[in-house]
Symmetry: C2
Subunit: 237 residues, 2 copies
């Protein structure tokens, strides 16, 4: 039976981390909200109708038969075990999940660069705060987060976080690099030299046949100014 | 063998969600950074020495023999399975983990009320932005998050999120109520009537013998203005 992925149809957003894992797994899935004109109403209805005994708080969530799994890291924990995208040993499994939760925290800070006053104002209503937060983000947070992952790759010997076998975390790190390159081309160009191992990982992921096919397909939504990674000239210097 | 919890010694912070679960489980644990004068250096050293083959990004993390688990929700996933603080069925286990990850997101938004420009500035350097964000937080985000959990309790029949048996998520919800009451006494007093089931849950958790003993002990650090929940007069109205 096909998985059903529920996520906003016009952005990569948080759903993209799941789409990449589904692509690499070669899994059969329906991107429900992108199917037909009433995809989004269908998604909203499922969340609020009371039909689900364990309703999720927000997209993305994945339906696998009767099972509903919400939150990116939780979905990847579930998929990782089923599709060989994670080690099986308990310690390594929890460690990988912890890495993914660190990715989650970083993604949230990326979002906050353009929405420091929260998701209820438009970017245009918080430009000054966004500028201040973005400067700090590049000065202190990017080096700390990406430096941590670079250190993990140094330790593992690369090209991936656990060594030679790809995991779902590697797919997410690929997405972080792509996203930063899109949103902050100038800043990222200057920063990249500090994380050579992450760049190798990024290239290795891009070269994988299923990922390559996915990225070239219309399943891959283009980056735009409604998702997590947004290109605003004023924030890139 | 005793668990080792690694977290900052002077705040409840994110570590408190773990401490509450350890207390309710009656688990034997050492709060490493609170033990002796060099607790914090010991924690830092463990993180950076290269001794751990799977190093965490940040506290809190839990050591259980050779296993190291980081991030609150990941630690609770681990402890929940071992101490009967979570259901055993796969669907319910993933659902509970999803609920905890929603708590994580909410905690992050609580933190952002006083730090909208990020963790690298002091509150005093971002008062105006904090005020704006806090207003939105109470207008839109608190009703959405707590309304969701109230709905879950309505569905389960209460007093807890899965029904009559307590889980680690219930302990976390107790902590959220306590924290909001501490940080925003005026706003919370006005809001509480909207979430009667959460208040019942809070009272039921408080009455549990091990939690009661924990809260009365010096293991429970008092709320203060260095943690997640901070009482700033300017942000409470």
């Amino acid at each position: 039976m096909a998985y059903e992925l529920y996520y906003w149809p016009t952005i990569q957003g948080r759903g993209e981390f799941v789409r990449l894992a589904l692509a690499e797994a070669g899994a059969n899935y329906v991107d429900v909200a992108r199917r037909g004109a009433n995809g989004v109403p269908k998604m909203r209805k499922l969340m609020t109708s009371g039909r689900l005994s364990m309703p999720p708080y927000a997209p993305p969530f994945l339906k696998s038969g009767d099972l509903v799994v919400s939150h990116v890291a939780n979905i990847l924990l579930y998929l990782g075990g089923r599709h060989g995208l994670a080690p099986k040993a308990e310690a390594a499994k929890h460690w990988l999940h912890g890495l993914q939760l660190t990715v989650t925290d970083f993604v949230s800070e990326v979002h906050d660069t353009h929405h420091p006053l929260g998701p209820t104002f438009y970017y245009e209503q918080q430009r000054a705060a966004a500028k201040r937060r973005t400067d700090e983000f590049w000065k202190l947070r990017v080096p700390k987060y990406l430096g941590y992952f670079e250190g993990i790759l140094k330790r593992s010997g690369g090209p991936f976080v656990t060594g030679r076998k790809l995991t779902y975390v590697d797919l997410s790190l690929f997405q972080l690099i792509e996203g930063l390159r899109y949103a902050f081309p100038k800043r990222m160009r200057r920063f990249e030299k500090n994380v050579p191992r992450l760049l190798v990982l990024r290239d290795r992921v891009t070269a994988r046949p299923r990922i390559k096919a996915y990225l070239a397909s219309d399943k891959r939504i283009a980056f735009n100014e409604h998702g997590i990674f947004r290109r605003y000239k004023a924030l890139d210097r």
